[in-house]
Amino acid sequence: MAVARKIPELTGRPTTFCPGCGHGILTRLLGECLTELGQDHNVICTIGVGCSCIFDTAYQGDMIQAPHGRGAAVATGVKRALPDVVSLTYQGDGDAYTIGLAETLNAAYRNEKISVFVVNNCNFGMTGGQMSWTTMPNQVTATSVHGRDTALTGMPIKVPEMIAGNFQTAYVARGTVTDAKHIRELKGYIRNALKAQIAGEGYSLVEIVSPCPTNWHMTALEAIDQMEKEILPYYTLGEFCKRGGKQE
């Protein structure tokens, strides 16, 4: 007997994300988790700049378009104003880990009771595929046309590990969208992050490693293969800080 499944109303409107973009999965999972947790009328979403802006076509709740990178600071202001409302951010790797690295880390440092969701697709997508701090070694992007030279630009940054390893936070995890099994695990991570906030435990962050077929210059299915071959071995999945404050 099948379980009825329908895209939740909170995030149910059609979007203009590219075909095969991982944002669409996160959009649906956020809608499902918020609705299942009874928070769909108790949430303010702070949106980053980039492909994240497109979330506003799907999402029907209260939202704030934050300046580029500042999502964690804006979400902090929201949470301090309305402590009983779920305050979450919806950002990309360019937004939260590059220009916004200070705000993302400092909110974790202070253990602000917000939930930060970061779609990591290894480039600045909306502006046409420039290198971001999570771009893989030798990955060709619009600003690394011969492939990323990590000797000059650094190795791809691992922010969940950085936060879990250095700050007292409530929950930190990394998931992905490559198949049904991973998507179900990711949904569990998102639920944990939101539940940590609802229970007042502190800062939560979930990174979602995602395909970007358009800027990787591949089909959607080729992008999934690329992730399995090269990206996921580097960006390992799992819970780096579990609820209850245990560090991984």
Partner: protein, 66 residues
């Protein structure tokens, strides 16, 4: 009677459903939806209404009805 209902207009031909369907019940149509994409088509003979297509679809194309 359980079934999978497809919203053709939402489909962007990414192919995740085709790849992940355990019964190979999904294919992409030969014709286009209004956005110019070849939309997903479910063969109800093969479909076991497992819901994996709903899970892997980024665009909310599938609805599983009991």
């Amino acid at each position: 009677m359980s079934e999978v209902v497809v919203s053709e207009s939402r489909c962007k031909s990414c192919g995740f459903c085709v790849k992940n369907c355990p019964k190979g019940a999904i294919s992409l149509a030969h014709s286009f939806n209004s956005a110019g994409y070849k939309y997903a088509v479910v063969d109800s003979e093969k479909c076991i209404v497992c819901g994996i297509c709903y899970t892997v679809c980024p665009d909310g194309v599938f609805e599983i009805r009991e």
